[in-house]
């Protein structure tokens, strides 16, 4: 796979102009993701109303892959139920492990499908995964399955 197809236009676009970047005025949950070794740091915040993600956003300083993945994730997650997003996470995990996924599943990922090339860079899978791990903790906290102070890492 060529560099240009790994760092494709959609990935670069999301990294340079991240969607859902910033703070939500009245968020009711946030989780920090921190990959200390490489210096990726994000905070994922959401406003959850009646089991649905009404608003979701992230801030932080991260590499192109982590920034783009966070942007794509938020794009896909806003307005969705916890189960819907959890389904996206499980597809994305398979995707990053280079396991075959159906066209339907690929569609489900939205823009995040453009991150296929990251699976060819084993040391960078953690960058694309950080927002999903932050989400995973957020979901667990919403379901009272995780303590409120958890900071996640994928290193």
């Amino acid at each position: 796979m060529s560099l240009e197809s790994i760092f494709n236009e959609l990935l670069i676009d999301h990294s340079k102009f991240p969607r859902h970047y910033g703070h939500i005025g009245n968020s009711n949950i946030s989780v920090e993701g921190n990959n200390v070794m490489c210096g990726d740091q994000i905070v994922l915040s959401a406003r959850v109303v009646d089991g649905k993600i009404d608003k979701i956003a992230f801030t932080g300083k991260a590499c192109a892959i982590c920034t783009a993945s966070s942007s794509m994730f938020c794009d896909n997650a806003e307005g969705q139920t916890l189960d819907h997003i959890e389904h996206a996470r499980s597809i994305f995990q398979k995707y990053l492990r280079s396991e075959p996924i159906s066209d339907e599943d690929k569609k489900f990922l939205g823009d995040a499908a453009a991150l296929e090339g990251v699976s060819k860079l084993p040391s960078r899978v953690k960058c694309a995964s950080l927002v999903y791990e932050a989400w995973n903790i957020m979901r667990k906290r919403l379901l009272d399955e995780a303590p409120p102070t958890a900071v996640v890492t994928t290193e």
Binding site: I6, F7, I12, M37, C38, C63, A64, I65
Partner: protein, 408 residues
């Protein structure tokens, strides 16, 4: 005589391997670990294949040969670092292992509540975390020297700001991030004058410049084999004789004792007192071969070759638009950290890797230094004597291409 990298590479299996496959192999991660020449690999293999036995205990020919080679390796290391007595060179697992031994000894037998351990903010975590643990255990506190944005600092100011409660001055001989080389002789003299012990992390320096421990006159000095063409898993702790004799060991076991009774034991003489258990025999023999190899090339020749190459690399890199170098331009090793405005170091490293160029990206086990430099992380290209100007040129052109790929 000036070094010839083309000739040098002929003795490195890894360069022969990539010459065979035709793949681009530009290895610029020497501050993390260096490549190994035939003589080092052969020395380790010979031990396993021809005279594998335990040292200092087996009463047979093989045991004698293993012991002999193990102690010859120690003698080579003593010669390499100009240590008067080889028994002051203790085999450990690594620089980290060595510093942990010293920090443990000083925490239990020397530091008192209220004492100060003085460090620089540039320390590798291996020369910081053990001191945090020693401070927590002894009630001492940590203080830090002020550094300039390039990682250097003012020695006179260290003297002027000296806290009389300082009992340990621990610092790196050279930085793994900025490449800055510090004056060990001056700083350990300052510590001695003020009644403090000096502990030096020599991991980056030993590979790059002649180190004369007799002249530097520090109290403890630690280094790793793998950063100076030797094997992984082996390192050395040097200590002044009177200190090594005064302190009792922190780890007990076989080899480090003379007599063992039910309730107590008598410890062995130096260096064995600090080498419990079967040591990394193959690693020690490999490290002996590594320092012999380096002495064969000449440490002054290595230093001048790498100095010239690093100066060229700094010049070329500083002309690349939006590149900032985090370190001094002179009196440095071959480790060059840099950032490209708008490009994250990890993206740079991945793209270069795709072009066959291996660099490191991240915080380089020096998180407090990143904070002091005002960056989240850096990219780092680190050069050694088998690298060339042509590789610098290829790095620079790959960086231009990286900016394009990342849309910058």
């Amino acid at each position: 005589m000036a070094l010839d990298p083309a000739l040098i590479r002929k003795s490195y299996p890894i360069y022969r391997h990539f010459a065979g496959t035709g793949e681009t192999f530009i290895y610029l991660d020497n501050a993390a670990t260096t490549q190994k020449p035939d003589s080092v690999i052969d020395a380790e293999l010979a031990y396993y294949r021809e005279f594998c036995a335990n040292v200092h205990r087996s009463p047979h020919k093989l045991g004698e040969e293993a012991t002999n080679c193990f102690e010859l390796a120690r003698a080579s290391i003593a010669k390499f670092l100009n240590i008067d007595d080889p028994s002051q060179a203790i085999f450990t697992s690594s620089t980290t292992g060595s510093i942990n031994i010293v920090a443990n000894i000083l925490a239990g037998q020397y530091l008192k509540p209220g004492d100060v351990i003085l460090l620089t903010p540039s320390e590798h975590h291996s020369n910081l975390v053990p001191w945090q643990m020693a401070a927590a255990r002894s009630g001492a506190t940590l203080e830090f020297i002020d550094i300039f944005p390039d990682g250097t600092f003012d020695y006179d100011q260290v003297g002027r700001n000296w806290n009389p409660r300082t009992k340990v001055l621990a610092f790196q001989h050279a930085s793994n991030v900025t490449g800055a080389i510090h004056d060990v002789e001056t700083l350990s003299g300052l510590a001695r004058h003020n009644g403090a012990l000096s502990v030096i992390d020599g991991a980056q320096a030993v590979a790059h410049l002649p180190v004369d421990l007799n002249a530097l006159d520090c109290d403890f000095y630690a280094f790793s084999g793998h950063k100076c063409v030797g094997p992984t898993g082996i390192g050395v702790l040097y200590g002044k004789r009177e200190l090594l004799e005064r302190f009792t060991p922190v780890f007990g076991g076989g080899e480090m004792i003379l007599r063992v009774q039910r309730q107590s034991s008598t410890y062995n003489a130096l260096p064995y007192k600090f080498e419990p258990g079967t040591p990394n025999i193959a690693g020690a023999i490999g490290l002996g071969a590594a320092v012999e190899y380096l002495m064969g090339l000449g440490m002054s020749e290595i230093a001048s070759y790498v100095d010239a190459l690093a100066e060229y690399a700094c010049q070329r890199l500083s002309k690349v638009d939006r590149v900032t170098i985090a370190g001094p331009l002179t009196n440095r090793t071959g480790a060059i950290s840099f950032n490209i405005n708008g490009c994250h170091p990890h993206d740079i490293a991945s793209i270069l890797d795709h072009r066959g160029i291996a660099i490191r990206a991240g915080v380089h086990c020096a998180e407090p230094l990143m904070e002091a430099l005002g960056v989240a992380s850096t990219a780092r290209a680190s050069f050694y004597f088998y690298n060339t100007r042509d590789e610098v040129d290829q790095l620079v052109s790959a960086l231009e291409n990286t900016k394009e790929i990342l849309g910058q």
